[in-house]
Symmetry: C2
C-alpha cells in the first residue's frame, strides 16, 4: 500500500495518555515538524482539545510555508472509536472529557481536510504494516503491553475492527477460566497478569506476605512506589518473588500469543509497549510459552518480534491510518 | 455473493469421518441428486478415494442427463488443507491413507473442472454465510462442537485461513493456563472440556470416584459405553456428576465464545456440531458465560445462535467453498 501512496504529507496526531504528539508524515513514513505537548496536566475541561487544535493549526502553517499539499489527517486515540464519524467511545479512561466527542467532525470543520480517527493500537498496527516490520505481509497481530494491554489485527490484508470497533481486544481474552477478576467484568484476562499496572499490583500484593524481597529496598521501603520496571529489575537479580510475578506474566502473555497463532496462523506477531522494553527477561519466556500453547506447524510459520517503535511511531501510525482508509475508499 | 452466482450447478463433496456425501448444488444452495456412502468401513487402503471418485462420476453423469452445466467441484475435508493445490495435510486423523494426498489435482485430472478443497468446518462456515443464517454479514464465527471442536472465521467478508491453513482453530485455544493436557501438545484447550469425546471422558473419569451416578444405569453398568448424549441425558435428570461435567463444558465453551467476541466483535456466532444438539441445557449456560467473559457493549452486538445444519449442510458448504473461491478470483 505504501508503494501506491500519493505524493504529499499526512498530518498525523497521536493522542496518548501522557503526550499529545503531531507531525507531518510522508508516504514513506518519515516524520517532519513533529510537535508534542503533555496531556496529563491538561486533562481538565477543554484543555486537551484546545492543545490538539493548536498542534494541528501549527502543523498546517508549517505545511503551507513548505508548500507541500496535505492529503488529510489521521488521529490515533485511546479506547473504542466509531470510525465512520470519528467519535470517541464512552469507555475512554484517560481523558474522560473526550467521552462521546465527535473529534473527526470537529477536525474536518477546522481543517477542511478528510479526517480518520481510530484506536491508537490499530494505528500502531497499521504503522508497522505500512512502514515497519510487517510491510508486505497479509496476516499480522500486534499486542501493545503497557499500563493496559491493547491489540491490533490485520487479516487477509484488512484491519479487523468488527461491527462496532471492539475488534482486536486481545488483552481482554481470558486464559484462566477461574482467574482473578478484571475491571472489564470478566476474569482471568491476559491483562490481569501481564499489563504493567498488574505486574506492579501482583508484586505489591505478594510483598505483604514476603517482606524479604529486594523489591522493598528498590522502592525505599514503600510498596506503593513499585512499578513494572522495578519488578523486572528485581527479577533480573534473582529475587524469588519478582521471578514468580514475571513468570506468570510471561505464561499468560505466551498463552495469548499461542491462541492468536492457532486462531489466525499469522506470519508475524509484534509485541510492543513499555512493558516489552524489559527485553529478553520477558520476551524469551513469552516465546517459549507461545510455542507450548500453539500448534507446532503453525508456530513454525510465525515470526514473533519486539516492536521497533520509537517516539514517532504513534504519529506514523496515525498517518498510516489515513493512508489505509484512503486505500479502502479507492477500492470501493 | 450468492446473489451474483452464475447459473449452473456446483458438485459438492463432504468427506466426513463417517459419511462421504456428494450432490449437485445450485446457486441458491438447493441440493439435488445427493449420494452418500459410509466412509468408516472403507477406510483401509484406497477404498475411500475409489468411492469418492465413483460418487463424483455418478453425479457428473446425472448432470449430463439433466443437461445443466457443472461449474466446478468443491470438497470439504477433515484437517488442515493446502488450499492452493488441494492437498490434504499430514494431521488428518480419521482417514490416515489421505495424508499428503493431492486430492485437488486428482479430481481436476478426472473431471477437467476447476476444483477447490478446504477444511470441512471452513466449508460449513461458508455455507452458513452464503445460504444460511449468516447471509449478508461481514463478521461471522462458527464453532463446530462434535467429537472434536473445529472453527471457521469470516472477517471483513473474507475467510480467515492464515498463512498455512491453520486459521480458525478455536477448539485449540487455551482458556485454562494450567488446565488438563490436550493431545495437541498444549493444555487447557476448550476441546479438553467441551468436545463430545472429552465430555464422555470426564464423566468416565468421575464415575471412578462416584458410583452413585445414574449414568452408570444408563450405560448398563459399563463406563466404557458412556457418550456425550448420555451425559446430557443424566444432567437433564439432575444427576450431580453429569451436571458438573456439563457446567464445566459450558463454561469453557462460553469463555471461548466470549474471547471471540472481544477479538472480532462479530455480528454472529454460530454454534453447530453434534454436541450442540443437546439443545438449551448446553446453549443457555454457554451464552450466559459468553456474556460474562465478553465486553458488554460488544456482546450486545453479537447474535449467538445454534446452527440449523441438516444432513445436506456439508454438501452445501462444499459448494459454497467453490463459489467463494470463484468470487475471489473474479476480484483479482
Amino acid at each position: 500500500m505504501a508503494a501506491s501512496s500519493p505524493p504529499g504529507a499526512i498530518l498525523g496526531v497521536d493522542l496518548g495518555a501522557t503526550t499529545l504528539a503531531g507531525g507531518l508524515v510522508d508516504g514513506a513514513g518519515t516524520v517532519r515538524n513533529s510537535h508534542s505537548v503533555p496531556t496529563d496536566r491538561l486533562s481538565r475541561g477543554e484543555g486537551v482539545l484546545q492543545n490538539l487544535l493548536a498542534v494541528v493549526a501549527g502543523l498546517l502553517d508549517d505545511a503551507r510555508r513548505m508548500g507541500g499539499p496535505i492529503l488529510g489527517v489521521g488521529v490515533g486515540a485511546p479506547g473504542v472509536i466509531e470510525v465512520d464519524t470519528g467519535t470517541i467511545g464512552e469507555d475512554i479512561q484517560n481523558i474522560p472529557e473526550f467521552r462521546g466527542l465527535a473529534l473527526g467532525r470537529i477536525l474536518r470543520e477546522r481543517t477542511g481536510l478528510p479526517v480518520v480517527v481510530d484506536n491508537d493500537v490499530n494505528a500502531l498496527t497499521l504503522g508497522e504494516w505500512m512502514f515497519g516490520q510487517a510491510r508486505g505481509l497479509r496476516h499480522v497481530a500486534m499486542i501493545a503491553v503497557g499500563t493496559s494491554i491493547g491489540g491490533g489485527l490485520i487479516l487477509n490484508g484488512a484491519l479487523v475492527r468488527g461491527v462496532s470497533g471492539y475488534g482486536g481486544e486481545i488483552g481482554h481474552t481470558t486464559v484462566d477460566l477461574d482467574g482473578p477478576d478484571c475491571f472489564c467484568g470478566s476474569r482471568g484476562c491476559i491483562k490481569v497478569y501481564a499489563s504493567g499496572a498488574d505486574i506492579a499490583r501482583q508484586a505489591r500484593s505478594l510483598l505483604r506476605a514476603d517482606r524479604t524481597s529486594i523489591l522493598l529496598e528498590l522502592v525505599g521501603g514503600d510498596p506503593n512506589r513499585i512499578d513494572a520496571p522495578q519488578v523486572f529489575a528485581a527479577a533480573a537479580q534473582g529475587d524469588p518473588m519478582a521471578v514468580t510475578v514475571v513468570a506468570r506474566a510471561a505464561q499468560a502473555l505466551g498463552a495469548g500469543v499461542g491462541n492468536l497463532i492457532n486462531l489466525y496462523n499469522p506470519e508475524l506477531i509484534v509485541l510492543g509497549g513499555s512493558v516489552m522494553e524489559a527485553g529478553e527477561i520477558l520476551m524469551e519466556p513469552v516465546v517459549r510459552w507461545a510455542r507450548f500453547y500453539a500448534f507446532e506447524a503453525a508456530f513454525d510459520r510465525t515470526r514473533i518480534v519486539r516492536s521497533t517503535l520509537t517516539k514517532e511511531s504513534g504519529v506514523q501510525g496515525a498517518a498510516a491510518l489515513f493512508l489505509y482508509e484512503q486505500g479502502r475508499e479507492r477500492l470501493t
